[in-house]
Symmetry: D4
């Protein structure tokens, strides 16, 4: 068995969906990841690595590691560079609690990879409402707000009632007991009484960023 | 089989827990309810009827029906009178949406049965935050706030972060899809990041009122 | 108790979120709905009625009924007119099966109420892939595609891989057994491997339309 | 990236809710915790640390570790001292089984941090009812009883039927099989036939203590 | 298609398991039930009918109806007589709340059909513990105690800790919200800390009685 | 804090329920277990240790370890001896698959601790029916059959239809995917069409043995 | 809106998958069904109607009703005739209990519509094993056995261990309590220890028959 | 206790079901596995080892290890050789994503063990539809297609609508958040609108291969 047979990167996807292939690294072996990066390098492309655990990163060959701009909190890496950052910031990534920042940063880093600067606003959970209210004017100027929250996940609902921009809720697996791995946050967002709130899978900062890119490009 | 054998009201509970027996009527037959009311009348007691459906109410004998102060939205009835209302209002019952009012009123009516006046504040869901913020000062003066909400149930979390009184969350079965009969509202309240939020079963306005009574009496 | 106390329409929401108040009618009594419509009429506003069951519609007073443009499949009504329809169609509403059309139409009717024409494409479930493939070019021209599907809900995933526009998935409660009221469709959409797919609550055609409106306005 | 940007302690919360900020340490890195403690020390405040695992504690710098009164069973730490303990004991923390003691102690330690002495009563599960009945008189004198139980969690129901004080049930994740991480205990408490029983999230001794503090202060 | 082809009563089961065939009537048509009763009558046997709804009973032909000893609360019928009742009462059926009596009576009626007298003790839920404690001596004399309870279902746990007889817990679907159709009662019983508690399906009074019969015969 | 305060063995339980105290060791520390064993030794009692993991066993002090008859597959230990084994074997413990043997042995070892010999019959799952059919005559002679099975757990249903003895089903957590930790086995047993089948918690061989002891003693 | 726009039968599917279009009628209006049948009649085709409730059947126009061979137990109808029945019977449909017959017959009727005769064997649930064992030789001669069972659904597991033919399990929604609408039967079949057992959705007799047709045609 | 007593391989199963015994190794000790292999060797048989983890493999005695053809990705081993491979390839194993390949290979390796060659087609998930469409002609020539997919698992639905062969769906536990260990993939497959799709347990490549073998032999 050769590994190459199992890896078939889809370099044609960009033409169809406007998004380059990204690689979710979590369950892949170092050997498997190396094969992928070799292929990307041969083609002279750049690629976004998501869910690249620190222990996976250090096992990559040095020749690849030094080509990766790695950020451990979000577990993302840029391989072979990124697109040029645009001048205007059109997306805010808002995280409810300290523990939600990792998922928020995955979204922000994905956006930057594709050339969209994104402002990160952290620790504005609704249990301390004043912290959020101080930032509302700033949020109103954005075209898309990605609201990242775990536990009861009330943040995107409250934001959705305060601004007219697009609001994307990303539930996180932060919490214990009834939080059940983000399931409660997810369901609370989907059941939101704030009309027009859109939702992604739990901890899916990458997906929220891709959706934001589709939205910005459609303008 | 005589029905009397199956009915054993617990008139001694008052002495132990400070709460008279109340009767949840929902699954009981008209005959069964009549037997209970006969016993209560014989003893010269008053009793609170909860979950008394309109179709059950009209099937009761006239002699009992005219002794019941019935409120159809909350499906509660006072049989044989209530206690004297106190002068001071110490409890607010806050309902997020129009459909949550029925459960909120069950709580308010239970409190009034036991002599506690309760103010009802409706339609203050967090998707329109300004409606709640206008009432915060009023809420701060209460010793207990019962916050009734379905769907994403963010209301008690937001209130809990704004005031120092006791906050009791009552999830409701309002909603569809992922709301799943109040399960999402319940779990969101329990997972709340607002410290010290207490929660009851879904639609349990009666239970929240009983808890408020225990709290007020402990003072 | 007067009913007016329980109804507090939020005519100020428009200014904040760009969306007029809409009324979900399902669990409201005829009396309650009449009170709401009276208030709307007094202010000279128009309003969107959702989940207005045929049996609720016929119980409304004639004076209100003749002011409602009612569509029974989607259970939506326009009260007091709609906004002017725009010339360009920017949204497609795609339904996988015949039974999903009702939810799709709720989305399309909501869009039209706010002035956005929407094309409806039905019966293009992925079990008969060729039906969808014939429409791909048409979908590529849209800025937003709302994909409505029950059961295994593969439709939005397939669409998301074929076009670069925004794709919003709306799971429906169509199906039996493991479909469990739309839960499987919802989870399949959220777990989609199609990057950037956004999701709403089950059967929430209204919510998907509100999100599309936010997206179109942000352009 | 500097860590300080991600940490924004809310020293103003005390004024609003009467509770100082506490820090849940479980998912935070040693570096992150150190930054928080530095901030607290600078302001000359004290802070409660919850879910501080022994392996986290030993990784803190010595200058902080020696300022922490750490209790490993409850995984709580007092940093920078506590408030003055009151003379009167008004709260009992009752644990059903040996394994529930850790959660009960988290509640008791939280109460003591805020100046409320709390008596702990352990191993009084209802499968050996006589052990509980011997302590009923003592419980009757308390204003609040926090009842901690896993598995079938019958303890708070039985207590709620015996005394008129406030009873707060804390389900624990103790057990295996159908106990499913405390879910059964939680649901059994919420479904309790004991009127006025209030419930918190699974293993949330801290939350129960915060609720008790709100109750005591409202008196 | 003739109906006879679909009905194949198993008159041989008695020899193998010591229990005659019983018929669960709930989802069967009047025609189907009549065919079954015709077969039983031809063989000169008697049979136990369970879950025979009143509306089903009245649709049976008169010739069968007058041979049925029907009890509507438990929805059980004896067709063609019962076995001789034994002199000694060895089983108690204990029901926690008024609404649990129907399930308890199904158990008691099943036992009597097979010749075992059973004492019924109702309204002894643990929220009013003293009612149960008064009956403990009586329960100790029984060889089997069937404890029927919904909601939090603490009754069998408490009984199991007080006596050394066999205790069979029957969860009931009584309750609302988190009671979820008896699921919480079931799980609480299975998670019980009372060693040796045995459990049946929700509302399965018949099954508990069959188990008791196996136990009594094994002696 | 001294550990002794947290440990309160219930030596009086024997008198009430006929079962000595047993100790579930799984989540207890070596220190905690040592304290318990010291107390037991002081009183000159013997005790059954369940869920005593090998890694816990080796951490006990030598003075206790040499007094424990430890069996690693079932993770049970006899401390201080057992009761005299009876001459007659009245209980069979039947395990469906090789992986169910551990749970079955916990049941058998518990029975032997209390003096009841138990025969173990393994690898008789219903996917190879002939293996079970060869043992039916042997099973018919037993008063109680404990049937241990994971996955689809059809074994106790089939046995219950073949013999008239008491059958206790013990679901196990063996399996993957939809087996979900024994939940499917549990529900299949509870939904069994075999009348009179009794069920315990998942993996609860100890509980099944305690129930068998209650049954044997009641004879 | 005209209805025709919403109905788009896929007459080309036959060429691709070898199966004519069938129509699931359950949620369709009489008007909708009439439009479909008109289209089928125009093309001179025949069609299988599934889940056609008796109340739907009687509302169809007489001209269509007399062209339908309707069987109420399985709720299936043949419109416009069926294919020629083959001489050899290669499929057995086995139903565990009387209530499972309706689903089994849906499978048998679907097979006959496509020309495959199918033998139906009912009332052979494994709680009375001898009934099944008498039929094993007959089952061995079939190429496909469709095993229909609710509750604990042990039937297909036992059959799968006795014969070498293809076994397709169809779980049914028969049962109460933990049977939860067929979910337990489904999961028990999927977790079966009988290798090579294949499963369909709950109550999906139609799907099992379609699978059998694919298998027979592949030979 | 000797281990031999616990191991009872069923060498007679081949005669009944046409499939030799295979051994699922995951939860078995090295000692246990060695005993099994000794028995197989004594009888001069060959056996398929599934779920043999690399860490288990290396712990086997060398004498057995060198007789095993081990493939680590699928965690399968052939002990004592395989059957002769047939000339014609009649089964395709299709995997949606890179992470599904392991489960697909378990199916392919099982087929090869029993003499059926199987073609593997990987990385053809429906989010990049064109990759699948290029392979449709090849799939049409197969008698059985095993479609392996996690997350939203749309692959088998799409294939089932394109070809007339038998399609067996194998859901995998690949994914995070709502993917919940393969549960969503499983339910999506079962709810598929593609008629005649058959499904196995999550990650059960072995079971799918056994089903394919039954199908091929029935031809």
């Amino acid at each position: 068995m050769t590994l190459h047979k199992d890896v078939m990167l889809d370099f044609a996807r960009d033409a169809r969906t406007g998004l380059d292939e990204a690689v979710m690294c979590a369950s892949k072996s170092a050997l498997h990841l190396t094969t992928i990066l070799d292929q990307v390098q041969e083609k002279g492309r750049c690629i976004l690595l998501t869910r690249l655990l620190p222990e996976q990163f250090v096992e990559l060959p040095v020749r690849h590691r030094r080509n990766i701009d790695y950020e451990p909190l979000s577990r993302t890496g840029y391989f072979g560079g990124t697109r040029q950052l645009k001048a205007e910031t059109q997306v805010a990534v808002v995280a409810a609690g300290t523990s939600d920042v990792a998922v928020g940063r995955e979204a922000a880093r994905t956006l930057r990879f594709y050339g969209e600067p994104a402002v990160e606003i952290n620790d504005v959970g609704v249990a301390g409402l004043w912290r959020l209210l101080e930032r509302v004017e700033e949020l109103r100027k954005m075209r898309v707000v990605i609201a990242v929250a775990g536990m009861d996940a009330a943040l995107p609902t409250v934001i959705g009632g305060l601004i007219s921009s697009v609001v994307i809720g990303v539930p996180t697996s932060v919490g214990y007991g009834v939080a059940t791995g983000g399931e409660t946050a997810l369901r609370a967002m989907l059941a939101s009484c704030s009309p027009g709130l859109l939702v992604t899978n739990i901890d899916n900062g990458f997906g929220a960023a891709c959706a934001a890119l589709r939205i910005l490009r459609t303008a």
